[in-house]
Symmetry: C2
Subunit: 359 residues, 2 copies
């Protein structure tokens, strides 16, 4: 585990539950210490007042003000609207660099390739970390994650943007509360900014995606954790993102899956032209593909994002899914992940026994 | 179709059937005119003497000598051993540029990003085309190839390096000999150098691989061809390259497949640690995955690369595969592709009828 950082989050003009997804994710799940949020339109409040969680973390009006709380990292928690790097962003980043803050960014625009910013960062001896930029020394996957000591669970989905990162992080935290050591493997920009490491899988060249996942899973396994929760991406038959999903399956060689879904969604994002198959078909596909050659991973539970439904509708759909599939079903944000935790504890026990029995 | 070029192939010190795979592929399948091969160790011979095909194309000792045959393209037909760009390569490329030849390269080292070469190319107004470099305006796949007018056939494999490009090109040529318009979609560097266009799929970021295939298939379909033969890559359950294969399936949305295999191979290249599933399981997987949501593509025939077997062994294995699968089986280099051509003509007829019947 890397040393803990003290992070100031830049969310200028956009700090709210829906306006700053990355900032909210980092505040909810990061193990680093968030010392301040920068948004001059909400300056003087605390995070709790805006998000309904987050306690007394102050919201301040500028990088300058955030310095009072001694951050060592400026984390860019929103995407700028229009243009590559608006002047206000550039100004904030330069100010952070000049005060010796490292800068973590999930922007498409790479700060480390910006001449002015890169020169200033070199002069001040700080790191500009563009999390969307894949590393240089990539390798081809070779199935090495077939033999992890840890119990590997991959979150998969019926579509992209259905809550795969959230349920993985909720489960990681829930396991740790039980005293079971759990690791999270981040594969998308928000997950990487939350965890402080990971791979931006969607930006990795096709030949190396599975290899990147494999590398991360083996790294976590070498740390001796009991369970590795891998953040899924896309969906296996999504017409654009399916290959990224398969890379996660072949790279992580999961022992089991948690399937994520949005009940109200019937067609793949973002085009909504092609239908998502029925839940039981999706489950069978994820299980069968890997069973041909590798392990026999099962979908052990379902995480449904019901945020656009009423309490009553949500309860009904969770019950319906449970009946249709015979699996525990939850909405992590509405009901918690207790039932998934239980079923994965059984899986963890199964993995331990197999480990003992194998030569 | 782009205008035909006059190509000189650089294969210095390596021109042979096994030493210069790209050069041999281009000589065998390119529709451009190959005017000379450059290899000073074989200077004075003609291609036929070295490869057993290729007729009177002269082998010359230098770029300078190749100029006698008025090329407009220098195609780099071998990979340099050791180092990024050896001095001899640089010298040959510079000489070509100064004589106003465009340069086509499949090297990992991007000529267009080499300061000296790029400056000289700009000065001489020629193009340095690094075929491994993906284009900039990539899009996410959205299943648009579900509705092509043309009959789309994807070559798939039990592994990487089993002959997927070769059988696609042999079939393209065989269809054209019958007067049926056929297009080849190149997805690897040799295929791109042969065809003069295509996408280096292994270098495209994961999110955009399917979109690249879709774009190319739709472009060929818009040209009004009858059949589109898509060059496959990898194998669906290959632990490293599987995602690239899935991108081809989701991007091309094939009507049918030809399955390629090397009978003597039992484990995935290059590691040879994981077993390749039995042939019938591989066939079923390729068919079933797409059938869940999209089309009902079938494996219509098998192309087996038996180059490492005796005539007798080869005959036996082709007969065995035919018996096991009920499908026509050939070795394109040993027996020709006549039986695959027949079964795909039936498929083409089926597609035509469905097109007439559909609204």
């Amino acid at each position: 585990m890397q040393p803990l950082h003290r992070i100031a989050i830049l969310a200028e003009g956009a700090f709210s539950i829906f306006g700053a997804k990355t900032a909210v994710g980092v505040l909810r799940y990061s193990r680093h210490q968030i010392v301040a949020v920068i948004d001059s339109t909400k300056s003087g409040k605390v995070v709790q007042e805006v998000l309904g969680f987050g306690g007394n973390i102050p919201i301040v009006g500028s990088v300058q003000e955030a310095l009072l709380f001694h951050p060592d990292v400026l984390l860019i928690g929103i995407a700028p609207t229009g243009g590559q790097l608006p002047a206000a962003f550039r100004h904030a980043v330069l100010e952070a660099i000049r005060h010796r803050l490292n800068v973590w960014s999930g922007l498409h625009y790479f700060l480390s390739e910006d001449e002015e910013l890169a020169a200033e960062a070199a002069r001040c001896d700080v790191r500009l970390w563009d999390v969307r930029k894949p590393r240089r020394d990539l390798v081809v996957g070779s199935g090495k994650a077939l033999h992890t000591r840890a119990y590997v669970v991959l979150t998969v989905g019926t579509d992209c943007n259905v809550g795969k990162m959230t349920v993985a992080l909720e489960l990681r935290n829930a396991f740790e509360r039980l005293g079971i050591s759990a690791a999270f493997v981040a594969t998308g920009q928000t997950g990487i900014l939350i965890d402080g490491e990971g791979t931006p899988l969607d930006a990795v060249p096709g030949d190396f995606m599975a290899g990147e996942v494999e590398r991360l899973v083996l790294e976590k396994d070498a740390q001796g954790v009991d369970i590795i929760l891998v953040e899924g991406q896309g969906s296996l038959l999504h017409p654009g993102f399916g290959p990224v999903t398969l890379a996660l399956m072949l790279g992580a060689m999961p022992d089991d899956y948690i399937l994520c879904t949005v009940p109200s969604r019937t067609t793949y994002r973002p085009d909504h032209r092609l239908p998502i198959p029925p839940l039981n078909q999706v489950i069978r596909l994820y299980e069968d593909v890997m069973a041909i050659s590798y392990k026999l991973p099962k979908v052990r539970g379902i995480a449904a994002n019901t945020s656009d439904l009423s309490d009553e509708e949500a309860r009904a759909i969770l019950a319906q899914y449970n009946q249709e599939t015979g699996l525990p079903v939850c909405d992590p944000m509405r009901t918690g992940v207790e039932n998934l935790l239980e079923v994965l504890q059984i899986g963890l026990e199964r993995k331990r026994k197999n480990r003992v029995c194998s030569p």
